[in-house]
């Protein structure tokens, strides 16, 4: 065997800049970015940081404010929209995906990033927009919108976080979403009311409260904050327990079809903190075809709300 590439060589992942606000990548799905866990959510979050780095003039992975204090591009709102053919648990080892990522401007301290994931080789256009995400989704694609805010930590640790614009952050060249298409409508309501807006025809169908303790061995990221992907794991873990309380099998939980996940991040927490996770179930449609879980993640002692979550399941054909 010589130094030349052998015939079996994997296609390398590729990343190209389509225009001043769009990146296009083709990637091989690896075990570390798929499964019955939040690894794909984490991978997409990495792509958000990379998109902002490439498109907004600074290295997000090492950003700092004018005083030299580290600033983090924290996740504030994270929505994942899929369908029966492509949802969060669809990609598996060896799949090749096309990923289109676009940044929109949301002012000097925030940025909106959209991603569209699909199986590679479909010839889909290398662009995505809020209009497409909200009103014209292509079937068998996974759409994601992330709103990120620049923050820095206060002296008291993870509880105290401040807005902080880093040096070098450029967003004037980005388009701004039309007000009626902005994710602000969704997350402002979630913050004010502790729940995302409900849908017409929803009927309440149960409530539960479950304890959770911030896990020292799994929940913290590389700078000691509760990782954004952990919030998804906390919500999914509570949902798994409710699934059993509803008399359903573990297998049916693994096979659940979540077509819309929304998460608004309102606070962080110290390692070891006791949380309480409150779930409300509602259903709508014939034969309860749509099931929705509204979840609040709350710091037990202070009753601070750390996150508001909504998970919408498609139960047709179960």
């Amino acid at each position: 065997m010589s130094g030349s590439q052998p015939r079996h060589a994997l296609h390398a992942d590729s990343l190209v800049r389509v225009d001043e606000r769009t990146l296009l990548r083709e990637v091989l799905v690896k075990p570390g970015m798929c499964g019955h866990n939040a690894l794909l959510v984490g991978q997409i979050g990495d792509w958000t940081w990379e998109a902002v780095s490439e498109l907004c003039g600074l290295n997000v992975f090492q950003a700092a404010d004018a005083e030299g204090s580290p600033t983090y591009l924290s996740f504030y709102y994270y929505q994942v929209l899929g369908d029966r053919a492509f949802h969060l648990r669809t990609p598996t080892f060896g799949d090749r995906l096309q990923v289109v990522s676009t940044c929109y401007g949301l002012g000097s301290e925030s940025v909106l990033t959209l991603h569209r994931l699909s199986h590679a080789g479909r010839g889909l256009p290398p662009k995505v927009s809020v209009e497409e995400l909200l009103n014209a989704r292509i079937p068998e694609c996974l759409y994601v919108q992330n709103v990120n805010r620049w923050i820095r930590r206060g002296v008291t640790g993870n509880k105290e976080l401040y807005a902080a614009a880093p040096v070098g952050f450029q967003q004037a060249h980005l388009a701004t979403p039309a007000p009626e298409l902005s994710p602000r409508i969704a997350y402002d309501a979630a913050r004010r009311r502790g729940a995302f807006a409900s849908e017409a025809g929803e009927r309440p169908a149960g409530e539960w409260t479950l304890p959770y303790e911030v896990d020292l061995a799994r929940d913290l990221n590389g700078v000691g904050l509760l990782c954004f992907a952990t919030y998804f794991s906390i919500a999914d873990g509570a949902l798994a327990k409710v699934w059993r309380l509803l008399g359903r099998s573990d297998r049916s939980f693994l096979d659940r079809l979540v077509v819309d996940t929304r998460l608004c991040f309102l606070g962080n927490a110290e390692p070891g903190t006791q949380l309480s996770v409150q779930l409300r179930r509602s259903v709508r449609g014939e034969a309860e075809a749509v099931e929705r879980f509204d979840i609040q993640i709350i710091e037990e002692e202070s009753q601070r709300m750390l996150a508001v979550v909504a998970l919408t399941c498609d139960r047709r054909g179960e």
Copy 2:
């Protein structure tokens, strides 16, 4: 801004083939591959699969046997050797790493992969060997050895796994480690005796048994098996509980300095299975400078041993 690369552009991750058994990469550390969790362990595992794909003639991510049944390059032995300056929790957002990966032959159904991680820019040579890993480690580097075996699933699910060589796996061109340097010595002992060999001067210092249930929302990989990185999380989670039982603070757990982690994977488990995690603590050296935890992960009902773990902590200067 034009279509040309802006000045702030991140260095793209690079991957080159050094020779027929060695890969060299330079990577930016992203949130999805670091932290107080098993994400770096998972990332290194992905690099193992990629190294075997590039160096052994097949696409590991989609391997199959002669009948077309999927085969998986399962993790059998995973050792991580660090020092006070570079251990599993050292890399953080924005660090640039040099990673050298080399495959060794272990017969038609197994392969040994070594990795050496270090901060980029040190000018370290693009090669690593079992001799270096065992007898001549360079300071401030993280060394990893992975032994992987080809398996396929039986009809009864995750409990039943068989050896299975996939089509296209080439290993004749790889070097074979000298018998006295082979990891086989370590993992054969672990399998036979339920513990890795102990060190001279170790004194027993406590035993605990803790329950764990396989987590439907976090523990399974993209093909529904208990993920190899999950075993590290289970061991670390049990260790965190023992840390409190020893009267130590959560902060001191997060600051623990584990310089040698060994894990031998003996079995897999179904989602929802009850496990029991047994820990034995031993200490050696002046002022108990070295502390070691021997851990067994056992399926409660069958008493099947799923994994044998050893974690060695450096407590000097605490």
